[in-house]
């Protein structure tokens, strides 16, 4: 049975790596997620400046979004409907509606190592992919936002003692997702930790359960969802970093950056941002939607 599960997991991983997916607006669909999009703002004709990136997107008729298809709660493709669901996915659709009048997006499955190149060569218009704003990255891409703030925390196998803060990871084997901000954060706070990386969150969880590492450092939202699904792991700290997620745009496109920031402000003021949070991340994190981060409040944004 376990072999079967492993084999099934492997084939799912392979499937999730498949190219790109298009998710047109579903006519007549009445899921709560599309109800929210009905409330999302639409830009006035005057805001779509002639000759701008926004105008080009409008002429094309769809927004090209760099994103993931395998990030639960954030941007995950529902195998039954083919729709990409989650916080990032919904934000992408709302931005498409703002420009086009309808939430027509094409999600290009991008990876951490290709995002900058995809933006630079115009393969995608925007990136919604838990893209943490850093000053290094801001030299390569423009960031609108931040549109969401998250933080890293630590999960262990239930019953593990001696890990209550990041510094406790020194000298221990620590699991982290490849290409996540967890790697630099661990290097900084626990320089003696041995970092072991895997490509996806399910693999890291499996490795944690098989004692390939004593702790797993990952975004709090993802760990809460993991701990809800799997009672054998527990979260031992509050978030100890602040990761401001930005909307990746082509470097130097100030018109587009201002346009997206204006949209984000309208989304927050109209309460659409909060509703999108509630139907995605809010399904595992209890309580009201947090206050959205101040736009432009982070170095690099």
């Amino acid at each position: 049975m376990k072999w079967f599960v492993a084999a099934a997991a492997v084939s799912l991983l392979a499937l999730s790596a498949c190219g790109e997916s298009s998710s047109p607006a579903v006519p007549g669909a009445t899921s709560p997620q599309s109800d929210i999009l009905a409330k999302a703002p639409v830009a006035t004709a005057a805001e779509i400046l002639p000759g701008s990136t926004m105008e080009k997107i409008k002429q094309r008729g769809e927004l090209l979004v760099g994103g993931s298809l395998d990030a639960p709660l954030l941007s995950q493709q529902n195998p039954a409907t083919g729709e990409v669901e989650g916080f990032d996915a919904q934000m992408g659709k709302a931005l498409a509606k703002y420009i086009l009048g309808e939430p027509k997006v094409k999600i290009v499955n991008s990876a951490s190592e290709t995002r900058e190149a995809l933006l630079a060569n115009g393969t995608v218009d925007v990136v919604f992919q838990t893209y943490t704003i850093t000053e290094e990255r801001a030299k390569q891409v423009a960031f609108a936002g931040p549109y969401y703030t998250s933080g890293l925390t630590i999960a262990v196998k239930k019953g593990t003692t001696g890990i209550t803060k990041p510094e406790d990871l020194n000298g221990k084997k620590v699991l982290a997702g490849a290409n996540t901000p967890a790697i630099p954060a661990i290097k900084k706070l626990a320089p003696q930790a041995e970092i072991i990386t895997f490509g996806s969150d399910p693999e890291c969880i499996q490795a944690l359960k098989q004692d390939r590492g004593v702790a797993y450092v990952q975004d709090e939202t993802i760990l809460i969802a993991d701990a809800k699904k799997d009672p054998s792991i527990e979260i031992v700290t509050k978030p100890f970093t602040t990761d401001p997620y930005g909307i990746g745009l082509k470097h130097g496109d100030d018109q587009m950056k201002k346009f997206v920031n204006d949209w984000l402000k309208k989304m927050q003021d109209a309460g659409v941002w909060q509703e999108i949070w509630k139907t995605s991340i809010g399904t595992v994190v209890t309580g009201d939607a947090p206050a959205p981060p101040q736009i432009g409040s982070v170095p690099g944004s």
Binding site: A14, A117, A178, E203, R212
Partner: protein, 214 residues
């Protein structure tokens, strides 16, 4: 370019791991490959079937699937090995199927009379394979084996999926901080290219020296 120089120590360490993986798994694959080839040309039917099953199974599985399956599957039945060791063993087992097949094509190119003559002077199957057939077979498949070596080098990049920090994985880690994929991955690509070019050069020289003109 500056970004490569700045992170040279990490990338160098990754390159060393890639070279270790390549050398160790290729050596393992060579030994196993000879065994697989011996099975496939053996006069015993059961052994031949065994060899065929090995080759057919491994050539029809993607290496990444095999790696992840072994890495996460075996601990479930109580066998847990170091990631580097796991990667070396899996890549060796996988590439052995290809080396076995390359060698078999070499064996088929050795004229039947050679085997018959070996038997006529009283050599056993093992002896005739070792002293008569394989040495001739090897000489005709230098280039295909060289290509398998190059493929092995490229395939080691998949070891990153099971937490081995090879050249590809270290390039990804550097890019995570620097966000400059083009210089970083072009640099890593050039390193792989140089390994492949060196392998091509060596096999080219070897082939010219060893070739048997029939």
């Amino acid at each position: 370019m500056g970004v490569l120089l700045e992170h040279l120590p990490e990338l160098w360490q990754g390159l060393i791991v890639t070279l270790q993986l390549t050398a160790a798994s290729f050596a393992g694959a060579a030994v196993l490959g000879v065994l697989v080839c011996a099975l496939r040309v053996s006069p015993v039917r059961v052994l031949r079937a065994l060899g065929t099953a090995y080759v057919e199974t491994l050539q029809n599985l993607p290496l990444l699937v095999l790696l992840v399956l072994v890495f996460f599957g075996l601990p479930e039945i109580g066998i847990k090995a170091d990631p580097l060791v796991t990667a070396i063993v899996v890549i060796a087992v996988y590439e052995a199927a290809y080396i076995g097949e390359a060698l078999r094509s070499g064996v088929n190119s050795v004229s039947k009379g050679q085997g018959e003559a070996a038997r006529a002077i009283g050599l056993t199957f093992g002896q005739s394979l070792r002293h008569v057939v394989l040495p001739q077979a090897l000489r005709t498949v230098v280039q295909p084996i060289g290509n398998i070596f190059i493929a092995t080098t490229m395939n080691t990049a998949l070891a990153g999926a099971v937490s081995v920090v090879d050249l590809t994985a270290s390039a990804q880690r550097v890019n995570l901080v620097e966000a400059q994929p083009i210089p970083i991955f072009v640099g890593a690509g050039i390193a792989y290219g140089l390994i492949a070019a060196a392998a091509g050069f060596v096999t080219g020289r070897l082939e010219r020296r060893l070739v048997i003109l029939r």
